[in-house]
C-alpha cells in the first residue's frame, strides 16, 4: 500500500491546454510522478470516477482542477473533488476567472443554443433538433450533462485554496506550485501562486516607454507592425499589461503580440477590465465628446476585449452557485 500523497488532476470546461502544460513539465513530471500517487488524470490515465467516490473525504492531498464550470457534470465533479481533497488548486485562467469561454455570459444560454443549432448560416437542422439532457433511443434512456445558465469560475462553485492563473500557466510556476505543496511550503490560503505585480513591471519594452503616452488613434495588431522594443500602448495598440498580473514569462510580448490579460488582475484588484478601462482612458488624448467618439469608435467590442478572460469574475458578471446549494 503506497503512502505517497494522492494527487488528482481534472478538467472541467477546458480546452486541454492546461493538461498540455503539465505534460510540458517534461523531466520534472517524472519527479512529480514518482513523488505522488496520481489517482485521477483523464488526459493521461484510465481511472474511473467511482474509484474517487470510494475514497474517504479529505484523502486526496491536492486536486489540480482546470477549466470553468459550465455544465452539471463539471459541477458534480468539482463538488466531488472538493469533498475528497485537502487542497484544491484552481489551475489556469478558466478555473481562476472563467476564461475565454466565460464570454458566453454576454449572450445567455438560450441565445447561444439558438445560434448554434438554429440560426448560424452554416446550420442545417430541418428537424430543429438540439441536445436534450435525456433522450430515449431504442427503449434505452440516454443522458447528457445539462448546460448551466451561466459560466462559473471554480471558486463560484466550490471553495478554492490556491490559484495559479495563465492560459496555460507556465512550467516554472506549475513546478513551483506542485513542489510547494509536496514540501509544505505554501503561502496562506487563497493566495495566487504567481508574482503580485503588473506585467509592465517586467516588460522589457517598459524601458523605452516615453514619460507620457498620448493615444491619438487605436490600432489593431494587424494594422501596425510595432517595433520589438516599443511599448504597444504608445502605438495605440491595446495591451492589457498595466492591469494584468505578471509571471507569464512575457511569452506574448516576445512574439510581438500585446498582452490580452490571461493572468487576470494584479494583487488586491478584482476587476482587471475596469481598472484597465480607467488607465487606458487616461492615455487617450481627447477632450471633447467628438474627439472621444472619433478615437474610441476604433475600440471594437470593449467588453469582449477587457473581459476576454475574466467575464465571470468581473464586477457585473459575478455570480455564485455556492450559496444556492450549500
Amino acid at each position: 500500500m503506497t503512502k505517497k500523497p494522492k494527487v488528482a488532476i481534472y478538467w472541467l470546461g477546458a480546452c486541454g491546454g492546461c493538461d498540455e502544460a503539465i505534460v510540458d513539465l517534461n523531466e520534472v513530471l517524472l519527479q512529480v510522478a514518482s513523488a505522488v500517487d496520481i489517482v485521477l488524470w483523464p488526459l493521461a490515465m484510465d481511472q474511473k470516477y467511482h474509484s474517487i467516490e470510494e475514497l474517504p473525504d479529505g484523502s486526496i492531498t491536492l486536486s489540480i482542477i482546470h477549466g470553468n464550470v459550465r455544465n452539471t457534470e463539471h459541477e458534480e465533479m468539482a463538488r466531488l473533488l472538493r469533498a475528497k481533497s485537502n487542497l484544491v488548486l484552481a489551475f489556469g485562467t478558466c478555473a481562476c476567472f472563467g476564461g475565454t469561454t466565460g464570454l458566453a455570459n454576454f449572450c445567455g444560454k438560450e441565445s447561444i443554443m439558438q445560434w448554434v443549432y438554429r440560426d448560424a448560416p452554416t446550420v442545417e437542422n430541418p428537424k430543429k433538433q438540439s441536445p436534450q439532457p435525456k433522450t430515449t433511443v431504442g427503449g434505452e434512456s440516454l443522458t447528457l450533462p445539462e448546460l448551466l445558465d451561466h459560466v462559473y469560475s471554480l471558486n463560484q462553485v466550490i471553495p478554492v485554496d490556491y490559484y495559479l492563473p495563465g492560459c496555460p500557466p507556465p512550467p516554472d510556476l506549475i513546478g513551483h506550485a506542485i513542489f510547494a505543496v509536496l514540501e509544505g511550503k505554501l503561502p496562506p490560503r487563497s493566495a495566487v501562486l504567481a508574482p503580485q505585480k503588473a506585467l509592465c513591471e517586467t516588460c522589457p519594452r517598459n524601458n523605452n516607454k516615453p514619460p507620457r503616452i498620448d493615444i491619438t488613434g487605436i490600432k489593431r495588431v494587424y494594422e501596425v507592425e510595432v517595433d520589438s522594443h516599443v511599448c504597444f500602448l504608445t502605438e495605440g495598440v491595446i495591451c492589457m499589461g498595466p492591469a494584468t498580473r505578471g509571471g507569464c514569462g512575457e511569452t506574448c510580448l516576445r512574439i510581438n503580440t500585446p498582452c490580452r490579460g490571461c493572468f487576470g488582475p494584479v494583487e488586491g484588484v478584482e476587476d482587471a477590465g475596469a481598472k484597465f478601462l480607467s488607465a487606458f482612458a487616461s492615455l487617450v488624448k481627447a477632450t471633447t465628446d467628438e474627439q472621444v467618439q472619433v478615437i474610441m469608435e476604433k475600440f471594437h467590442d470593449p467588453a469582449g476585449c477587457l473581459y476576454r478572460f475574466t467575464q465571470p469574475t468581473s464586477t457585473l458578471g459575478k455570480r455564485s452557485k455556492v450559496r444556492e446549494t450549500v
Binding site: 445567455g108 480607467s278 472621444v292 474610441m296
Partner: protein
C-alpha cells in the same frame, strides 16, 4: 402596488457642485449623494460597483468644459463614461442609465432636478437586472463579431 422608484447614485465634484451649502444639509436633501474631490477621481470600478449594488442609474456631475479645478479631471471621466456605456450595453444594461453632466452649481439646488430628470427616464426603462443575462439590450449580433 407601489410605483417603481429608481435608485440613483449621484457622484458630484466638490469644486463645481454644492460647495456653498453644507454637505450635511445637501446629503439630507439628496439621496445616495456622494461628493468627490474631482469627477476625475472616479474609477470605473466605483461606477460598475454602483450598478452591482443595485443602482438603477448613476449620475456624475463634473466641472464645466475647460474649467476643471484639477485641469482635466472631468475630461478623464468623460472618456471612461464613453467606454463604460459600451461595457454596460454588453452586460445588458441600457447605457442611458449612466449619465454625466458638466456644469456648475455652487448652491447645489439643481442637483435634485438633474436626478429627477434621470429618474423620469429610468421609470420608462424599469428596474434593472444585473445577472449577466441580456434583458434590455439592443443588438446582440454586435457581441458575436
Amino acid at each position: 402596488m407601489q410605483p417603481y422608484e429608481p435608485k440613483i447614485v449621484c457622484f458630484s465634484c466638490c469644486f463645481g457642485w454644492g460647495y456653498l451649502t453644507g454637505r450635511d444639509v445637501l446629503s439630507v436633501r439628496i439621496k445616495n449623494w456622494i461628493p468627490v474631490i474631482c469627477s476625475g477621481k472616479l474609477d470605473s470600478t466605483h461606477l460598475l460597483k454602483a450598478f452591482k449594488e443595485g443602482a438603477d442609474g448613476v449620475l456624475i456631475l463634473g466641472c464645466p468644459d475647460g474649467d476643471c479645478h484639477f485641469q482635466d479631471g472631468n475630461y478623464q471621466t468623460r472618456k471612461k463614461v464613453h467606454l463604460l456605456h459600451k461595457i454596460l450595453s454588453s452586460y445588458g444594461i441600457d447605457p442611458r442609465r449612466l449619465r454625466m453632466e458638466l456644469g456648475t452649481d455652487p448652491d447645489g439646488d439643481t442637483i435634485t432636478k438633474l436626478i429627477e430628470n434621470l429618474a423620469r427616464e429610468l421609470r420608462q426603462l424599469g428596474p434593472i437586472r444585473v445577472d449577466g443575462m441580456q434583458v434590455e439590450t439592443t443588438d446582440r449580433a454586435d457581441s458575436r463579431g
